[in-house]
Amino acid sequence: MSQETIVQLLNDLAADVVMLEPGDLSSLGPLLKTVEELEKPDVSAGFEFLLPRAEQFRDAIVTIIFEEFKEPEKSIELLSTSISKMQEALRNGADSCDSVVSVAVEKPEESVAAVDVEPESGDAEHSSDLDEELFIGVDFSQDHDLYQGFIAESNEHLDTIEENILNLEQDPENLEILNSIFRPFHTVKGVSGFMNLSQMNVIAHHLENLLDDARNQKFYLDGDATDLILDGVDFLKKMLGQLNLALDGGELERMSVKPFIKRVDALHQVLLGGDAATPDAENESPAPKIGEILVEEGVISSDDLEGALAEQRVAAAAEPEKAPKKIGKILVDQKKTNVKTVARAIRQQKQRKDVAGAGSGVSSIKVDMEKLDNLVDMVGELVIVQAMIHQDPDIAGLVTRKVTENMAQLSRITSSLQKVAMSMRMVPIKQTFGKMVRLVRDLAKKTEKKIDLVMSGEETEIDRNMVDLIYDPMVHMIRNSADHGLETPEDRRASGKDETGTITLKAYHGGGNVIIEIVDDGRGLNLEKIREKAIEKGLLSENDQPTDQELCNMILAPGFSTADKVTDVSGRGVGMDVVKKAIERLRGVIEIDTNTGQGSIVTIKVPLTLAIIDGMVVIVGHERYIVPTLNVVESLRPLKEQYHTVQGQGELIKVRDRLLPLVRLHQVFHSEAQTTNPWEALVVVVEHEGEQFCLLVDELVGKQEIVIKSLGERLKDLPGIAGGAIMGDGRVGLILDVAGLFT
């Protein structure tokens, strides 16, 4: 075929891409057609070097259609870049085009296997002969953000793959799961191709081929295959790490993809050569037919549908060469419905297809955190204004039914709006739990134990910011359970237990907190040993009679480890106190309980969100301050006899036989107080890291939930002030930092 045809096709493509707008799916169809035209063997003969580009282009379009590409503007940008590269390649001939393309022309031997496997792809493989230098031909100075986005997105995809692979192990025949692994690989492949990251592209491509055959039920993926895929995921993650380094201008390791590719291909061959897989009769559930949707919606009766179908059959029989008339059109012709309804049904059909494809009933969109925060702020303001209007004496004076009703309605709407806004920051803990599956699997291999991980309550929601912070402590505790808690299979058999140990992860909401339990059925904590160690460390005296639970929680003290040997997995003796500190930073609590011989339970309790704290509102002079309830021990009005001074300066209040220093808030803050005598005012006993002192305040207003706001760059490091909060009247109150007040 002539060069002209190709130039024409490319020009068409370029023009179409320019016209393309984000979200405009309908114009992608023609694009796809044009590319397919370009890929036809008779068209592209002599111009094979264009094929990999074309394939990438097509993949990207498909990705956009499936909306896996999160940023449509960028993807369109990519499309046009790709086209211009193709045009350039065409102008200059095959020699001067970039690395991906030139490699592809060589059609290396090794990849033939893969080509055989997937003949319909028909394109050149771009595998071997890649330089071991990563990221050749990548200009990092440009498109920095693009690469950053790519890294973040790909990591997410790889996490999804990991999670689903492990599900696949349990249920290797499940097509749904296979698809959910295949799709992210496909996306990673497509995008990395565009990004010129040829090595990543190759790995993803080979794994994708493997998965595709599994998807087509040519074989089932066994343990070896899942291991390999997991290795591939690790490999890709490592490359992403390198890419990240490269973006920051760091030194890069040399990585070779060839051995890995060989492994994939070898396994692929083995799997293909193995027993011919029995084709599964079970198909992916097809999306419902238009007619069925219309019947479901009650637009037409099932008789109408029957009639229309009959007509369709008759028409098809009469003119077999014509495309069959669409059922929707027949129904409209018969005036059973109108075009609009059918259009809606078609949209619905597409939606259902998408949903079925996504493997879950919930679809979601990504939203910028800042936008969300703004929304939450605004809604907070709305609530305040609503309260102000409600309490306005003029409005309160209008006691007509209409006003009362409307006001009630307004407050209902605002409060549910607030709830919704707050809930948008919440994500299911599933993501964090999912990572644990991989962890436990690896731990089981390392420690040569058999471990089952049972999870419940994955849908429990937790603040987005909390998710990352809770991860490390959880990993630590699970490691402990796997390494110290669970016994080896032999030991378990000896003590009459099932060989396979179980770690149970549970999450649920309780009392405004998220509670996460990590339960194992191992040997439990050795209380006697803990007791000895505690005495040795001076945490306990010989005569103390602590309860079992008190003993258990002693292992959270710094430097406390009862493990006999330090293993690769855990037992370095630092750790548990780190976990405790991490949880406390989240304003949470961690508790450990055990049943010797039967296992132990770790309970982590953290607040739902970091943005809200419980606060005690106090008044000093004209200002209101908020003391975090976590720091408050008690509040009281001392008697004159309880007040003591030391050398006329240091002030003390005697509370329950303890002498606590008195801090006058108005003095610290150089403001004025209404009352200066402690026996006429109030003191709040506060605690920080075991130390207690009294704060002198004028009045207590009450306890209240407070949304923490930053005071901004300029005012962030002021002693004694942790932040601001917007109070019920719309003014700002200051949140006290108890630690800062005392020093």
Binding site: M378, E381, E623, S710, G712, G724
Partner: protein
């Protein structure tokens, strides 16, 4: 009419033309780049923040965001004066290391938006004033008025007013 005049001048004279928000502060007319201005709000009750620099009189709630407020009279060590109905807070965007942040500045009264060409702005001469030199971008002349163009980033930066200003105060 006056505005017309200035618009016509754009086409005839050289130099870029920028818009400035002018405001009154103790008998003087000041201006700041309109692109820095986010909004103008009435004076409201401010929550004092102990430990902050004195001219940062506190924080306010700007539609759910807590922003600091600076009193410009205090910043420039001018005599203080009771807030009245014309006193207002100009919410400006200050460049900071962590990106632009909003900040309120209390001024006596907002005047107008004026168009000034670059050639209408003179470098500020060295004069004895309470305002440190580097806070001033220049002096804008229009009609028969002089507007002191402020570098608001500098004005609101965390650096203290240079010592010499207090010396001059003693003179």
């Amino acid at each position: 009419m006056e505005e017309h005049a200035s618009i016509e001048e754009v086409t005839t004279a050289s130099g870029n033309e920028n818009k400035y928000l002018s405001f009154h502060l103790a008998d003087e007319l000041y201006g700041l780049d309109i692109l820095k201005v986010r909004e103008i709000i009435g004076v409201q009750e401010v929550t004092k923040v102990p430990g902050a620099e004195e001219y940062l009189i506190g924080v306010i709630n700007l539609r759910g965001k807590v922003i600091p407020v600076a009193d410009l009279r205090m910043r420039f060590v001018l005599s203080r004066r009771e807030y009245d109905a014309r006193t207002c807070i100009i919410v400006v965007e200050i460049a900071s290391e962590a990106g632009p942040v909003a900040m309120g500045i209390v001024v006596d009264a907002v005047d107008a938006v004026v168009n000034l060409r670059d050639d209408q702005i003179e470098k500020a001469p060295v004069f004895s004033s309470e305002i440190s030199q580097d806070c001033i971008k220049g002096l804008g002349k229009f009609e028969d008025k002089v507007v002191i163009i402020l570098d608001i980033d500098r004005v609101c930066s965390s650096e203290r007013v240079p010592e010499e200003s207090s010396d001059e105060l003693n003179e």
